[in-house]
């Protein structure tokens, strides 16, 4: 997945991601620059410091994997509601 918003995956998008993943039945990880983290952890997402145009490898594994993946894609596409900035 590609990060489109200009500020990258900072605290607010990270919060949105973590919130989206809460209560899902899949494990989700992000891999960026050879580092893989648990996408439910805001701290870990922040540590990745993904900037604009960064490419993430997203791995979703679980019962509702497809649904989760689609929701994640939507969220990334919407630029976390920051498209105007």
């Amino acid at each position: 997945m590609k990060v489109k918003n200009s500020l990258g995956l900072h605290a607010r998008p990270a919060t949105m991601i973590a919130k989206l993943l809460q209560g899902t039945h899949s494990s989700v990880s992000f891999t960026y620059k050879k580092e893989t983290i648990n996408a439910k952890s805001i701290m870990s997402i922040l540590v990745l410091a993904v900037s604009q145009h960064g490419q993430l490898l997203v791995t979703v594994d679980g019962l509702d994997a497809e649904l989760v993946l689609r929701k994640l894609l939507d969220l990334f596409e919407s630029q976390f509601g920051e498209s105007d900035s």
Partner: protein, 576 residues
């Protein structure tokens, strides 16, 4: 920062003189992160401590968010929202838990190290924007540590010896865990005369002065401070002369106390041969070793047990062990155990399943599961001595009936045959107004004046309550209770603080009190006072006082009598 002698006036709460080094509890200064090893098998408790700190932090943040939403600061709300999510970050939680479980690190250290790892990783990114997120993380960790440190900060046992402890306010567990050898005095901004913290300070003989401006004193950075618990004076950086004067006073006070102590083995009998029984108010097993100069335990404050160990609340075996030991220590003397008295300003133990909101016996009947545990432990221990069960804050005869019913039920279930007497605390006005009804169900009464004063006069526990015990209404209520108890042939003990004040002793005897219960340290002076008054004069004084109209008038007569009975050279501080 001069070294000049500076004097401050506070409200005297607990008598005595202390000279020591100032120690500011919970000051704003950054404290070092505590590091200690978690004992094997205690890891899960430590993990729980972490989760508690997280949930407290979450509550803070939610409150903050609410306030922000009222202000309409949406950006700030979002940031706080992120903090809330970060708090429960599964990765962070897993890392901290792993350190606690695998390495036995304490929560503070485990969290600090995990945060440090994040710090290192954040600082590796070249993106300045992300580096700034570190402040959020650090802020958060400070918040969590704050909640962890709450317990640590309150750990009075770590204080260097001979300290005068300054704190904005005190909670009962502060004074309860304070050792007289380390804490020579307390100085607070709040915590007034009738707060439980004050009560415990008095029972332990630690001077306490309240209503003092902390900031003014802290800014002086004094090295030595004198606390006069009688006058409420605080002297920072005393001159050599002042220091000498107070050292002499302190010594004289100690000599007098020693003198009383030496005579305390004498039977507490008035000059005209009337015996008064003196019992001890205690709050721990340790104190039960000093019952030799008493007629037994008049009040065992069982709730003090879990101030240090909340788990005890639901631990029948440990309670059984403590009560058995207590009864054995008393070697046949009566032991009145007041069942857990919590609620109000004595918070119940923070263990799962406890319903809060009520106080005293109402709290216990509402939390019957825990009440039954305590009653069972007590009934099982009853075989080791003369146990009596006292119910706190009784206001309705049904509370007594329900408890007696529970006791019968437990006895049947466990096949026990003992029947310890069940009495009620007389400490709210309603109990006195229905004393005749209660007397039919109760085996004894125990008057607690501290709460009574509060509810009768409508004063706050933390307010300064000088002279209030001498209020005509309180004295009339005492009389009413005693008359009802007599009519039904019930023994009545007085265990409120009024009973530890030598000044009130003649009045109490005159009113018809034959049993007094007070903190161990007051027993020698109460004993001395009893041995130096007469029943005849006491009755005359009581009659006179019952006719009086104002607290000032009553106090004056009490003081005059006290001065007459106590020779000048042994007169110590009267309580009032």
């Amino acid at each position: 920062m001069s070294d000049e002698e500076k004097r401050f006036q506070g409200a005297p709460v607990s008598e005595g003189i202390a000279i020591g080094k100032p120690y500011f509890l919970g000051s704003a200064q950054e404290e070092a992160i505590p590091e200690f090893q978690i004992a094997r098998g205690k890891e899960e408790e430590e993990v729980l401590r972490y989760h508690k700190a997280i949930s407290s932090s979450r509550k803070d943040l939610e409150k903050l968010q609410e306030a922000l939403s009222l202000e309409g600061s949406h950006d700030a709300m979002q940031i706080i929202g992120t903090h809330i999510e970060m708090l429960e970050d599964p990765q962070m939680t897993a890392d901290v838990e792993k350190r606690i479980r695998d390495m036995g690190q304490n929560t503070e250290m485990a969290l600090t190290l995990v945060i440090d790892e994040y710090r290192v990783r954040f600082s590796r990114t070249s993106d300045l924007f992300f580096q700034q997120r570190l402040t959020d993380v650090l802020d958060l960790s400070r918040r969590i540590l704050g909640h962890l440190a709450f317990k640590k900060r309150r750990e009075i046992s770590d204080i260097p010896p001979n300290s005068v402890v300054f704190s904005r306010e005190l909670v009962p567990s502060d004074t309860a865990t304070a050792q007289a050898s380390r804490v020579s005095a307390f100085v607070t901004q709040f915590s007034g005369g009738n707060s439980h913290a004050a009560l415990i300070a008095r029972a332990k003989g630690i001077p306490l002065v309240a209503s003092v401006d902390m900031h003014a004193i802290q800014s002086l950075k004094g090295k030595c401070v004198i606390v006069d618990g009688l006058t409420g004076e605080i002297i920072v950086n005393p001159t050599q002369g002042t220091l000498r004067k107070y050292q002499e006073m302190k010594q004289r006070l100690q000599q007098n106390l020693l003198l009383f102590e030496e005579m305390a083995h004498l039977n507490p009998e008035t000059q005209d041969g009337f015996e008064i029984k003196i019992f001890a108010n205690i709050g721990s097993l340790a104190e039960s070793q000093y019952l030799n100069k008493t007629h037994g335990v008049g009040l065992f404050r069982s709730e003090n047990l879990f101030l240090e160990n909340p788990e005890l609340f639901s631990d029948e075996e440990e309670q059984f062990r403590i009560y058995s030991e207590l009864l054995k220590q008393a070697s046949g003397l009566p032991v009145v155990v007041r069942v857990f008295d919590v609620g109000g300003d004595k918070p119940p133990p923070g263990i799962p399943g406890v319903i809060t909101g009520e106080r005293g016996i109402r709290f216990l009947l509402q939390n019957q599961k825990f009440f039954v545990i305590q009653l069972r432990a007590l009934l099982r221990a009853a075989q080791f001595g003369d146990l009596r069960i006292l119910l706190p804050l009784v206001s309705d005869v049904n509370e007594l009936k329900e408890t007696k019913f529970l006791i019968e039920q437990i006895k049947r279930e466990c096949g026990l045959t003992c029947s310890p007497p069940v009495g009620c605390m007389i400490e709210v006005p309603s109990a006195i107004l229905i004393a005749d009804i209660l007397a039919k169900e109760a085996h004894f009464f125990s008057i607690g004046t501290n709460d009574l004063i509060q509810y009768v006069l409508g004063v706050d526990r933390s307010q300064n309550q000088d002279f209030l015990p001498a209020h005509p209404s309180i004295i009339r209520l005492l009389k009413m209770t005693i008359i009802e108890a007599r009519r039904h042939n019930l023994p009545v003990t007085i265990c409120g603080e009024i009973a530890s004040s030598p000044m009130f002793i003649p009045l109490l005897i005159g009113l018809g009190i034959h049993q007094i219960s007070c903190a161990l340290r007051f027993i020698p002076q109460v004993n001395w006072m009893i041995r130096n008054c007469t029943l005849l004069e006491s009755c005359q004084i009581a009659d006179q006082i019952l006719q009086m109209q104002s607290p000032a008038e009553i106090s004056k007569l009490l003081m005059e009598t006290y001065r007459r009975i106590m020779p000048e050279e042994v007169a110590i501080y009267p309580m009032c």
